[in-house]
Amino acid sequence: MTGFFDIPSDLQHSWLGLVGLHLREALLPVLAGLVLSLPVAQLCVRFRWFYAPVFGVTTVLYAVPSLAFFVLLIDYTGMTESTVMIPLAVYSLVVLVPAIVDGVRSVPPETLAAATAMGLGPVRRYLQVQLPIAVPAIIAGLRVAAVSSISLVSIGMLIGNQGALGNLLNDAQIYHRPELAVNSVVTTAALGILVDALLVLVRTLLTPWMPRKGASR
């Protein structure tokens, strides 16, 4: 009899190994997306006209089905993790760019004016004032991007078992072990909730300056 956590050997991973793989395939693209979004968002803040085309392009990219991406990418990156992660990174832009733009724009004009008047140059203003104040908005974006990425990784199953926990769905079918499908769904959901909770914790730690519920003036 095989148990809930006994993973078929064709996947070459233990359950924990699949969890680690899944997290890596889901979160590395979000990190890459963040690194790409920060300068793009700053350009959108600096040049207002730039935002509309950027938003349009990221939305269109988001609308491209991942299968289509895979077909395009397989010629270049083959049946590898990269082929799964590149579309995920592109998808994360549609959430992260607007989140960062909104966050940076939410800095009150008098705060920015005061910063300028105190002799903070543009770089200091960005790093010391705009970015820290945008943290709550950025983390809100990261939460959506991370959770959606975690659920999307499973589709990697379609290109040579690169779907981490998603591969269990396929194995459930071929080995007639429905509990593997349950395992896949439950573990993926748990990972999503866990990562989301972690991000909330990070935000709490990074923003002691945010009004908390029940805080008195």
Binding site: P108, E110, T111, L112, A113, A114, A115, T116, A117, M118, G119, L120, G121, R124, V129, P132, I133, V135, T207, P208, W209, M210, P211, A215, S216, R217
Partner: protein, 415 residues
């Protein structure tokens, strides 16, 4: 609070207006601020809007100069040209004789404190770190900068325990005090204030204004203060520049002169209806002849109640001399004065530190037409009638008229 009133009475003396007349600071003047000279400055935007039009202004050192005017008069633009947040299209601005464009822009800005409406605090930094911003930019160590910040919190009247808090945990008035402390942190010679007290309620605003006057008495900075509130301008300004829409200077004068001799219909209109009454703020009440005959303690005997020199009312005080209210001599019974039947005595004034305006207000508020004078502890020192206050006002006017004639001659010679 007393500092403001004491300073207001100083304004009756001519020096500030003389200073504006010929633009030369006396050589023995304490030199803690710097002189700012705005020379035919114009700001024209690409779309053709003219925010400031050929403005020339000599901002005296060590004093508060208020730029006041309706919205669209270019007062904030003018202020922001001083620290180069806005660059003038024409003209130049000199700081102690040096063109401000000679210095690197961020160095210039760090030498000028800046206070803005709603404080503009960094919401993500503690109060101490907010105040320490400019010292840190100037390369001070963290410890030294924080120590300086703590010192400034005390100076602006904030409890040291607030230092570790974040801006959202403070009231609007407290935040504004932090804004002032932050501007003062690196001890800049110049302070630029852009409607700093507009967003707080009137009671808090009055407290902040009094605090600013007190701090200025200690520090003697060159302060440029922008407001749309003429009362604030008159209260705070050593000199007041009234700007009209389109960025042109309407009048530049000490507040007392502004109230007594507005340059034109626009200034007069902007000053509002009761400028005659408000002008009384600049007349001291020290010279009023106080009467003590009509003042009786609550435990006065019949003889004391009888000897009132024919005064229509007697002011009854408690055992410590604090006023309780007015009573008619015939209706007061020795040993049985009923407090609740006494007439209200209005608001007492303190001779010396309060102005004739406060004294007149006190007499108008009192149903008897007499104002009550008290000392610093609130003990009655005498009473004075509306007639006597009226005579004092007329006397002050004629004294000022004599002085103004001399001033006008000076100013004429300078031009």
């Amino acid at each position: 609070m007393n500092a403001g009133r004491a300073r207001a009475s100083e304004l009756l003396k001519p020096p500030p207006s003389r200073l504006s007349g010929n633009g030369q600071a006396p050589p023995n003047r304490r030199k803690r601020g710097v002189l700012i000279r705005i020379e035919s400055v114009t700001k024209r935007y690409p779309d053709g809007t003219v925010a400031v039009d050929g403005l020339s202004l000599e901002i005296p050192d060590g004093a508060i100069t208020v730029l006041v005017g309706p919205s669209g008069c270019g007062k904030t633009t003018t202020l922001r040209m001083v620290n180069r947040m806005v660059e003038p299209t024409e003209g130049r601005i000199l700081l102690d004789g040096e063109d401000i464009r000679q210095r690197p822009v961020n160095t210039l800005r760090r030498s000028m404190g800046y206070v803005i409406q709603n404080a503009g605090l960094f919401q993500h930094r503690t109060i101490l770190d907010n105040i320490a911003t400019v010292p840190r930019l100037l390369g001070w160590g963290r410890r030294k900068a924080r120590a300086r910040a703590a010192e400034l919190m005390e100076r602006v009247g904030l409890d040291a325990s607030l230092g570790k808090r974040y801006p959202y945990q403070l009231s609007g008035g407290q935040q504004q005090r932090v804004g002032v402390a932050r501007a003062l942190a690196a001890d800049p010679p110049v302070l630029l204030m852009d409607e700093p007290f507009s967003a707080v309620d009137p009671v808090v605003r009055k407290g902040l204004q009094d605090e600013l006057l007190r701090i200025q008495d200690e520090l003697g900075k060159t302060i440029v203060f922008v407001t749309h509130d003429i009362d604030e301008a008159v209260k705070l300004g050593t000199m007041v520049a009234v700007l009209r829409t389109g960025g042109r200077l309407a009048q530049f004068a000490p507040p007392a002169e502004l109230l007594s001799a507005p340059a034109d219909a626009f200034v007069e209109d902007f000053l509002g209806a009761d400028r005659g009454i408000r002008r009384l703020s600049f007349f001291p009440s020290a010279g009023l002849a106080l009467e003590t005959g009509p003042v009786v303690p609550i435990d006065a005997d019949a003889a004391r109640l009888g000897s009132h020199d024919g005064a229509p009312y007697l002011l009854v005080t408690d055992a410590d001399g604090r006023p309780l209210g007015w009573g008619e001599p015939g209706r007061l019974t020795a040993g049985a004065v009923e407090r609740e039947h006494l007439l209200p005595y209005g608001r007492p004034f303190v001779p010396g530190s309060d102005s004739l305006r406060t004294a007149l207000d006190g007499s108008v508020l009192s149903p008897t037409g007499w104002a009550v004078a008290v000392d610093g502890e609130g003990r009655t020192v005498g009473v004075v009638s509306q007639q006597v206050i009226g005579e004092a006002i007329r006397a002050a006017h004629s004294r000022l008229a004599d002085g103004a004639a001399g001033d006008a001659a000076d100013a004429g010679a300078a031009r």
